[in-house]
Amino acid sequence: MTGKTRGGKGSFGNVSRRRFVAGASALGVGAGLTPFLSRRAQASTEVKVLNWQGYGTDEAWALEAFKKATGLDIVHEYYNSESEMITKLQTNPGAYDVIVTNSAWNGRATELGVIQPIDTAQVSNFADLNPSFRDSPLLNVDGKTYGVSWVWGITAVAYSTEVYKDAPTSIEALWDAKNAKRISIRDDAIEAVSFAAIATGQDMNHPSDLAKVKEKLLALKPNIAMLWSSEDDWNKQFQAKAFDLSVYWSGSALRSKTNFKLPVGYVVPEEGAVGWFDGLAIGTDAPNAEGAHKFINYMIEPTYYVEWATKVGAPASANPKAMAALPDSDPSKAFYSDEAAIKRLQFMAPLSDKERQDFSDLWAEVKTEYAK
């Protein structure tokens, strides 16, 4: 849904794990006691982080460097879906210090009271962050900051540079009659609805006119060559020239271009595109809030980011100084530095269960029409 490195992880495995977690909460006594005990024992030397596995915070070299600088040990616990993260925060209050929260979920966590306001004065790199993310209402509620923007990415339009000498500028290129059977979008209800909402000039997260969205998606039928499902799928089909134009994830487009040497161009259309970003939050009654602030500060600092991006590969940093510190040879440097393009993005906000179901039904109906 979010379109980053870990985007492909959302499948069956997660759901069963999530269910296990829900079931395990019945044994809440045991789960509740453990953090309580460890809090007493190691209050000031440990910072407990809740994140996706392999997503930046658990790099061994980073933890070593952080320990050297602060004397703090980082301990991890992982989630496999955003709803699992919320469940964990609810069933183990006061167990986590730093939590990675997506822009669409930070507000939900705030509303549930499972994360606490951050004292930005303790985060010295905070002022450097790009205001587009830093001051977003998705992370700030009633003048209080509940999440420090960390990394971000885009879902916009990828095109074949062999077919397009000049980048298409309008989102309408997807609907252009001369692109019959030459475009692809992802088989995903929220992404499809978001894009059609942007194309019809509506709020992407809460489109007021769903009938218009549906009509727009139905109008795409003659142009759709295929619906892609994963980055790997996209690369294979693009290489086989199954389509020339596609709604695609920025991080994946960059990988297709640099790692797989595919002729991929990427553009944020003038009508806008989908943006997402991840924040770093602090749990309510965090056992080591001071350490949490220190770790968050470290996570948004340029030295850490450059090492993460060059050694492992990372989404764009929300800290422009970190982006500027990347070597000029790094393709993501120029790619993510277009301020005007960032301004055109609409960011993913929380959806209600009803919206989720409505989008899903709408997409199912549209796909049924595609199949006819």
Binding site: M1, G10, S11, F12, V15, R18, R19, A22, S83, T87, Q90, D187, D188, A189, I190, K221, I224, A225, M226, L227, S229, D233, K236, A240, A242, D353, R356, Q357, S360, D361, A364, E365, K367, T368, Y370, A371, K372
Partner: protein, 287 residues
């Protein structure tokens, strides 16, 4: 202990563990899913769920579900039909014509696809079916200037991929049925003056019917619930109810609706077999 009670205990002792195993691994999860299909929210939501029929109502209220269901059943029908048309003659040849080591070798070839991952097989088909793929290049080299063959993302592609995946079930079940037919029955038919075709129609086909039925059931049921093959090979043309059910679990996180749709599909399968089975059994018994 009388012999009958002893037999009864022996049966219980021998079959009991298997039934207990089935009850725990199949019946209980299905029962849990059935209960789930009547809830108004998934168990992941911390709020208490209550009883509702809305999930079943959703199916009847939205016509696109009917289209998806009809297409799923049609797909099951075509795949089963082609598996029979290809698999039955193959099984016949194996059971009645091929002997010795050749038979083993051919068996190995039939079972071989099972050893590779289903996803790998389906992706291999994308390379064969696309324009500039193996079929297309083959056609072009034989008939230069022939129109391009691009079957990928079409309905036939889905049928081809699924027939390839499920064909071994038809061959194996038909083979077992055909092999059990005593050759002397066929000889008797021939010696009584029946033509080869009549012998086949009146003797072989009816006696092998149980194999055809079980093969068809083994293919039809999973195919109408399939979602991976239609998605990869069919592009937008491979819409099935199975795909929608999968999305209810993975994307929408609406487990109750997904469960309800699954049970509707199950009910449809049971109705179809309920209608067909007595008919087929009568056909088989009349021989």
């Amino acid at each position: 202990m009388t012999p009958t009670t002893r037999t009864r205990w022996a049966i219980l002792g021998l079959t009991g563990p298997a039934y207990l195993w089935l009850a725990c691994t199949i019946f209980l999860p299905i029962a849990a899913m059935l209960a789930l299909s009547f809830l108004d929210k998934s168990p992941l939501v911390p709020k208490p769920a209550s009883f509702t029929l809305d999930n079943y109502g959703a199916f009847f209220g939205k016509p696109f579900y009917w289209s998806l269901t009809r297409w799923s059943i049609e797909l099951g029908f075509w795949v089963t039909l082609f598996s029979f048309l290809i698999g039955y003659p193959a099984a016949y040849a194996l059971a009645k014509r091929v002997k010795g080591r050749w038979r083993e070798a051919i068996f190995l070839l039939i079972v071989l696809p099972f050893w590779s991952n289903a996803l790998v097989r389906i992706f291999s088909w994308t390379m064969v079916l696309r324009s500039n793929g193996i079929i297309d290049l083959g056609m072009q080299s034989i008939f230069p200037g022939a129109p391009t063959v691009d079957l990928l993302f079409t309905y036939p592609a889905v049928v081809i991929g699924l027939v390839h995946s499920y064909l071994p079930y038809m061959i194996l079940t038909c083979y077992i049925a055909l092999q059990a037919i005593d050759d002397s029955l066929i000889e008797a038919g021939r010696s009584l003056g029946a033509s080869k075709f009549t012998t086949f129609r009146r003797v072989v086909l009816p006696l092998s019917l149980p194999g055809i039925i079980s093969g068809s059931a083994l293919i039809f049921v999973p195919v109408i619930g399939s979602f991976m093959e239609p998605r990869i090979l069919g592009g937008t043309k491979g819409a099935t109810l199975g795909m929608n059910i999968e999305e209810q679990f993975t994307v929408t996180a609406n487990w109750p609706l997904g469960a309800a749709l699954s049970f509707i599909l199950l009910a449809i399968v049971l109705v179809i077999f309920g209608i067909l089975f007595p008919f087929l059994r009568k056909q088989g018994g009349a021989a």
